[in-house]
């Protein structure tokens, strides 16, 4: 099936991924140090970057 004929993506897909990633980021640093902290930092940096990206790509 071609991409154009596929059903439109639900608007809740992005929020669901973001919520799941946030939970992973929150729990990760709680489970341990080292790599667990890094996973948490990367996820939350990604979330902040999403907001910055939306601002940079804003349409006028």
């Amino acid at each position: 099936m071609s991409r154009s004929s596929a059903a439109p993506r639900s608007p809740f897909v992005a929020p669901a991924w973001i919520a799941a990633a946030s939970l992973l980021g929150l729990v990760s640093a709680l489970l341990g140090d080292g790599i667990f902290d890094v996973v948490s930092w990367l996820i939350f940096t990604g979330l902040v970057a999403l907001a910055v990206r939306a601002w940079v790509k804003r349409t006028r």
């Binding site: 929020p15 929150l26 939306a54």
Partner: protein, 378 residues
């Protein structure tokens, strides 16, 4: 989604947000410096060099005597250790049940016993912000009120997510249209920031609400679990001559060899009944250092009485604290916590703007329906 359903979700989002927004703004603004509370507190303390590895810690009973000499007439309440510095703090007060705002604290070098100059935890700007953040200076009623605001915030987030669906059905995630109308730009900004902070804000809001019932939960734990051990001492007055604190801590260390003491409560402080030292042990991992294991030591004989397991509700409470404070992933996580806090302030301010520029509820629901059909709300 039917118009009546949309209308109900819209009203829920509008009113839950409106009621809590001012308090949420207060919480976000006061929370910003509190995220870095530990770092700010350390700025006011002298730098203490790490001791030689073979240096023996000063006897705790001597430490307590030194602290009491600073505050004549006081009694010891709590003794605790800083995990990041070789220091010991001793909270003292006029009575065993002195509440935190009236406590006086001495900070001592763990090895030399030198009294270190340090600000009191219950004075200054940070304490003012802390009280504003937690209870609006109203004690338990203020705390519970803030808890209700936290729950309303959670409902506002969920209802906002439901409304996000129709708005964004025809738009890719992250759409921010700033060139058409000011209201549309703010609406898009509200949606983008709201979704980016969705999971984080929901967890921080709910764990904040859980933290507001800390006092009732602690009292329930005291009554249920510690009351069982206290019953053995029914009718006996609180001991006036206490067994060695150092020996009590040594006994607790021997009883929980894989753990280290975080703090000790003295009898009568509300944490270990009237007849026990409560030596609260913590693990060494990020998770287990939050889940205290109390070891009750008879304050008269120095004998080990019990090592009760924390009930589930106390574990939930203790785990909800780091998830609210963001103090468990070192400085980078704190910085990110502050950034997400700032983004949440953006959500709140954009929401307020949208409310000031509101039309009727019917207009807004029509806007939602149009956005779902065409992708453009106006």
């Amino acid at each position: 989604m039917q118009r009546s359903t949309l209308n109900a979700w819209f009203l829920m989002h509008k009113w839950t947000s409106l009621v809590c927004t001012v308090f949420l703004l207060l919480l976000c603004l006061t929370g910003l410096p509190l995220v870095f509370g530990e770092e700010i507190a350390h700025l006011a303390e002298p730098h203490v060099d790490a001791p030689a590895t073979d240096a023996a810690a000063r006897d705790l009973d001597t430490q307590v005597r030194t602290a009491l000499a600073q505050y004549p007439g006081n009694v010891p309440l709590f003794v605790g250790w800083d995990p990041d510095a070789p220091t010991v703090y001793v909270n003292t007060g006029a009575r065993a049940d002195t509440p935190p705002p009236q406590m006086q604290t001495a900070l001592l070098h763990a090895i030399s016993g030198e009294v270190l100059p340090a600000a009191q935890f219950n004075e200054g700007v940070m304490y003012f912000l802390y009280r504003l953040h937690t209870d609006l200076f109203l004690g338990l009623p203020g705390m519970l009120f803030m808890g209700v605001m936290g729950l309303l915030f959670a409902v506002a987030i969920i209802s906002g997510l439901v409304l996000y669906g129709p708005f964004m059905r025809k738009q890719p995630f992250g759409t921010l249209r700033t060139g058409r109308s000011r209201r549309l730009a703010w609406l898009d900004l509200h949606n983008v920031l709201g979704v980016v902070t969705l999971g984080w804000a929901l967890v921080v809001g709910i764990t904040g609400a859980i933290n507001t019932v800390a006092k009732p939960l602690e009292q329930a734990w005291q009554g249920e679990q510690l009351g069982e051990f206290a019953a053995r001492y029914a009718g006996q007055p609180r001991p006036t001559t206490l067994a060695s604190l150092q020996a009590a801590v040594d006994t607790a260390r021997a009883a929980e060899p894989g753990m280290r003491p975080a703090f000790v409560s003295f009898p009568g402080t509300g944490y270990s009944g009237n007849h026990h030292y409560g030596v609260f042990m913590q693990g060494n991992s990020a998770l287990t250092e939050r889940l205290y294991r109390p070891v009750l030591i008879d304050a008269q004989t120095g004998a080990l009485t019990a090592q009760p397991q924390l009930p589930l509700y106390m574990s939930v409470l203790l785990l909800s604290q780091p998830l609210h404070f963001g103090d468990y992933g070192k400085l980078p996580l704190k910085v990110l916590w502050a950034l997400l806090d700032l983004l949440t302030i953006g959500v709140l301010i954009s929401g307020l703007y949208l409310w000031f520029k509101r039309g009727s509820t019917a207009q807004r629901v029509t806007e939602l329906e149009r956005a779902a059909r065409t992708g453009a709300p106006e």
